[in-house]
Symmetry: C2
Subunit: 758 residues, 2 copies
């Protein structure tokens, strides 16, 4: 382990099963484009690979078939697509083609450098003919120029003098990954992108493509810059462009090919072809070193704001940094995109956006980079009309219901019991608009975006629920736990809907009398009477409670079901969803993930501590954590309950999920929500952060295994640094005016630094 | 209306929308083959038609796609297929081709003669050239020779002398009906049958085909017999056979072509080609008149046993007779087949068998033709291994779970919430095995078939349910009402499962000590301890009851849901399932069909009369009867409750559903369950028949609109004739020894005739 390891992910494996995982781990992305860590020269035949490049928010439409199609079932869905492959570079030396599986490998390492924002591959290779070359390949998806992906391909001769040929390709014939033997990914070849034209202008090679059904344009542009005098022979066919670059290399010398690649699309540009050329011209003008510097600058700032330092566990530190870095790589930075469940690292979950964004990932951005958080919330605001349409599709006459999974705004889930039935997504989104308001105090954002979202989601709850004897109840929905579907009064959903209704009414009264509210009243016909009804439903909302057990039952009938027979379920039957019919699972008390326990984190003041403790104990026994969204929440609530041992254990199951491929599917992409959960486990879990209407709260604890930890957060125009070690916790106001904070429920005025014994 | 109308269905319409309905109404079938009432000469281009011939139990396999495929979801299903088209006969006269849409129609009628068991078409046609012909076509699917379908094509010349050409075809290139504009039927062309060989042996034309995926062989054979001296020119191509028959006709004379068609398949015959030839040779030897006589004889016997006479409403009488006739046409008469939801009249529901057989149709056969009833029960016994496999698929370690819809025995439903989740089918089948025992006293049938079915279904209930505080409960299943899915303790299911468990234990003790039980114990490892557990679960079975309303709630949470907003639901939004997302429907108190009310019919002693009355009133308000299985049950229970007005109204909505096409989908086939319901409405409804462990019960009532009604039933080796008129009801023992019967709960000894004032 090098000293630098905390900032790097390193692999030296050439095992086929690890190579495909490394494609995910070493992908580079910037929130707009993502390029998997494929080898430029490709693998030998027979190696499984997911060779892919993706644009966030760019999708094609795929037909959805149902064995039995009922009213409101979707006919089609959006799907992220694999776009033009610009990764190809083949190296030839005296007739031998460079491959890590031929000749002799003298050195091999690949490194994801999270400080510099680049992925590197270092190889010393002896060709079959005995020529030794050192090859260093560096890849970057630029955060500063999001359309730009660069490959720097450096070749150093160790014992050879003579001609080197590099064949650089740009291939327009691409398809999404499919594997007929794996039921979890697409089983059939589907073509989504068609090359429309291939052009070459001012030494820029362009492929102009179009998605087959959504008719979106994608343009890729490539420009080569070679350090040595060289001869370039360019050819093209109907589907691809090839540049054969010949140069001579001297002993001990290094020559470089820089392959600038630019991607544009018709969602963002009126004419993506023109845009691609302009962006390329600007980018290629810049020396590479300058681009690296800009990248470094961007990341320095990011890490300065966002880093979470843990002392005493280097592996863990690496896992945390990897999580934060991947969140940055994945997050969409314009209003057309959000964060896909797998970021831009693979095709799992088809590039869809889920509630994961709000409940698992937005907190990180909200506390460290409010612009990005606002962008994510704005995305939801932009999709409000789609959510209104979706509500109609689901039978509701009023309100907006956000789709369970989507790219462009309409529902993409084909299985409603654990998809569109998860109405809680509405309250999740509303919750984060409220959190944003509490963290930023930004009433303007409420006025222009949040209020309308909260009003329309509140309307949905009024239409989805009803009064039963003076209690407001919500029937036939599904909570977060996908092992229990279509139930009445899911505690999580009802408590979150309650919060949604409360704040919708609050926003109404907060804005009452303003011009902006008047505009909104005109736009969506809100009345004070409606706001009163929201307030009433909030007050009358029914939350299931079992007196005898002093817990919140997950729903009205959860506790009367048979407990899953865990004792007689062998390990290889997990995750249960891959081995049991859903109906059999639904029949039992068994949870895929945190559900009531998640509500106890998000709305901890709703219940007394004994109830939260009892609920935690109860659900812990029956939760399989088959979802990657679960252990982080159990860790946070264990922290709250002061059970440091459990908090630590659950946290450690969370932090390196992808690095250690513990869910065995990292090849399909990273688990972004789990990464957000890693952040939350530290900040909301161990440090006990909560941001409420009544202010900001900390309740730091420290596992024995660590020396300490530290992070910064932004709160109402302040930056607060938190440091916890074995003796004390310190709170330092780095920016902004003094502020009241609560530490272990004692109120303090924070101006300089505040040190409290732990 | 002719005097004969009660025995006939008549149509004179040439409206395209009615023609396709008439194809269903005038189909001929015998339980083995069914031929839709298509025109031999076909319609003009652009007329919608479902041209079809079907074999009961013959299927191909069709792939099932799921938008999201979860564990246990089916990959493929069986599907009834349209087989070789032998219907084609074209008539040419002096170059004009006979068509009902060219020339001039002087007379046109088609008649389904339910007494003779034939369908006739009578046309007097003036050709464009002015030649007048009388054409009489008679079709029969023989009940005596089930492989045989005959077309008698008679041409009488009114004003012509000269040559007539008949072109008779047999087409092997067929496909199932599809209509891309109707979401309720197949939307894509799927080919299921491939012609393997075409042969001609001893004047028999044969097409040997095979189903594409299930690899079943089907052979069709055609032989022509012409009354006049004629010249036959036979040709064939790869897919079809054509016989061009030329003869001269004299003025006023009638000449006939008899087209014998035989179908065989490899499910029933080792070599269907040889069988087809043998059967054809035997059949074609027989004069047609003999075949008609055999048909008539078969039907005389059927009607003698089975007819239900109603005096005072000729339309109704026609509806009842049509129902009984169609049940006979539809019912499978060998162990390979059952009764499809649409009989053999169309492709709706893909030829699948449902619980409809047991709960709606078996009673008719059990009371009038026990052999056929036993055949239907034997089919279930034969499929017990499939039901065991299905139980495993659904997660159960023990027992058998019958599939919701099937042909060959495995599950064919692609939507589990209102399909495979309807576990009650197990109890429905068990119930009818018990009914069979009560009606026949046949312990032998119990020993050889019923006991094993009841034991395995009882085991299923033990595995699906569990004890919750001393009550046996059943979670996460769906009852008959498909507008409320995946619930706990559906009253219907629990009460039927209770009956199933009770009788499984009863059968065990009844057979205890016999060799046959010992064999069964060896075969399926039943123990007395297990039987005791069934008995205990029966005793502890939880049946939801609401004290305040004195009703049985449909399930644990049904009553707390919002009542559907019927007032604001326009008529064109029914059936709801075509207009609302299922989840929206599930969220409300609204029933597609009788559910608790059905339990009140089948298990009337389970609840006190006030509860049944209150339940009836409660569910009546919220039931849409969007299913054709509903009104008949409401009629029966209204009869029981003495509400003759309602009984009559519901009954009248039931009896002519297909004749009047009230559900607007008769083109896809008849509604066989509704036809069984028509029978039950009379016999169990107005006559109040019940057969219980304690004996046989009648409770006759008579609607004011009628003069009287009469029918016969078989009961424990007796035949009892029931006649009810405005003054009295009479019970006459036609066959068998004296027997105790209960009339209006008074016990009588029936030996001769018993007349009771009504």
């Amino acid at each position: 382990m090098t000293e630098n390891k905390n900032w790097e992910v390193i692999s030296t494996s050439l095992e086929p099963s690890q190579l495909i995982v490394d494609e995910t781990l070493f992908h580079v992305a910037n929130g707009y484009i993502g390029v998997r860590g494929n080898f430029e020269e490709e693998y030998p035949n027979g190696y499984d690979t997911i060779r892919g490049t993706y644009i966030n928010g760019l999708y094609d439409i795929s037909e959805v078939k149902h064995g039995e199609k009922l009213q409101g079932f979707i006919d089609s869905k959006q799907k992220i697509i694999n776009i033009t492959d610009v990764q190809g570079i083949q190296l030839f030396i005296e007739g031998d083609k460079f491959s890590l599986f031929e000749g002799e490998i003298l050195e091999y390492t690949r490194i994801l450098d999270m400080k510099a924002g680049v992925a590197r591959r270092h190889v010393v290779w002896k060709s079959p003919k005995g020529h030794i070359l050192q090859i260093d390949i560096k890849r970057m998806a630029s955060f500063v120029k999001p359309e730009l992906f660069v490959i720097e391909y450096a070749v150093k001769s160790v014992n050879y003098e003579g001609e080197i040929i590099l064949v650089s390709t740009q291939k327009g014939e691409v398809s999404n990954y499919f594997n007929p033997n794996d039921p979890r990914v697409a089983g059939e070849y589907e073509k989504h992108l068609t090359v429309k034209e291939i052009t070459r202008e001012e030494h820029i090679d362009l492929i102009h493509s179009e998605t087959n059904t959504s008719k979106l344009k994608v343009v890729s542009a490539v420009k080569h810059i070679v350090s040595a005098p060289c001869q370039i022979e360019s050819t093209s066919d109907r589907l691809s462009l090839t540049s054969k670059i010949k140069f001579n290399i001297e002993l001990g010398k290094t020559e470089k090919l820089v392959k600038y690649c630019v991607f544009t699309d018709s969602i963002r540009c009126a004419d993506p072809s023109i845009s691609a050329i302009c962006i390329m011209q600007e980018a290629a003008q810049m020396p590479l070193i300058k681009l690296y510097k800009l990248q470094q600058g961007y990341l320095d700032e990011f890490w300065n704001r966002s880093d979470v330092v843990v002392e005493g566990d280097s592996n863990l530190q690496q896992g945390i940094r990897f999580s934060l870095f991947e969140l940055l790589q994945s997050v969409g930075k314009d209003k057309y995109s959000n964060i896909a469940a797998k970021g831009l690292s693979g095709e799992g979950y088809e590039g869809h956006y889920f509630w994961d964004t709000e409940i698992y990932m937005l907190p990180f951005f909200l506390l460290t980079n409010q612009k990005l958080a606002e962008n994510l919330l704005s995305y939801r605001y932009e999709k409000l009309d789609d959510a209104r349409n979706n509500a109609r599709l689901m039978g509701h006459k009023k309100g907006a219901l956000y789709p369970w999974r989507t790219i462009s705004g309409s529902e993409c889930s084909a299985y409603f019991p654990s998809g569109p039935a998860q109405y809680h997504i509405d309250a999740d989104i509303a919750y984060m608009f409220v959190q944003h308001y509490l963290v930023t105090n930004d009433l303007d954002f409420v006025v222009h975006k949040g209020a309308e979202v909260l009003f329309e989601t509140a309307r949905l709850w009024m239409d989805a629920g009803h009064y039963a004897e003076d209690r407001f109840v919500i029937d036939a929905i599904t909570g977060p736990d996908e092992y229990t579907c279509i139930v009445n009064n899911n505690y999580y959903t009802n408590s979150m809907a309650k919060y949604n209704l409360k704040w919708a009414a609050k926003f109404f009264y907060l804005l009452k009398g303003t011009n902006q509210l008047d505009d909104l009243i005109k736009k969506i016909q809100i009345t004070e009477e409606e706001a009163e009804k929201w307030d009433e439903a909030y007050q009358k909302m029914y939350l299931p409670y079992d007196k005898e057990l002093d817990i919140n039952p997950q729903d009205d009938t959860f506790l009367s079901k048979a407990v899953w027979d865990f004792e007689n379920t062998p390990k290889d039957k997990y995750p249960l969803l891959l081995h049991y019919h859903p109906l059999y699972i639904y029949r039992h008390q068994v949870c895929k993930q945190a559900d009531t326990v998640l509500a106890h984190f998000l709305l901890e003041d709703e219940e007394k501590l004994s109830t939260i403790q009892n609920s935690f104990d109860y659900y812990e026994k029956i939760t399989t954590h088959d979802s990657s969204l679960s252990t982080c929440i159990f860790s946070i609530v264990a922290s709250k309950l002061g059970n440091i041992r459990k908090a630590y254990d659950y946290f450690m199951q969370t932090t390196r999920l992808d690095l250690d491929n513990t869910h065995h599917n990292t090849k399909d992409g990273i688990h972004t929500a789990n990464m957000g959960g890693t952040y939350m486990g530290m900040v909301y879990g161990f440090a006990g952060l909560r941001i409420k209407e009544t202010g900001i709260y900390f309740n730091p604890i420290l596992p024995d295994e660590w020396e300490g930890y530290a992070f910064k957060i932004c709160y109402q125009n302040r930056v607060i640094e938190v440091r916890v070690n074995k003796r004390e916790s310190s709170f330092k106001l780095l920016e902004g005016e003094k502020v009241t904070i609560h530490i272990k429920d004692i109120k303090y005025e924070l101006c300089g630094e505040l040190v409290i014994e732990i």
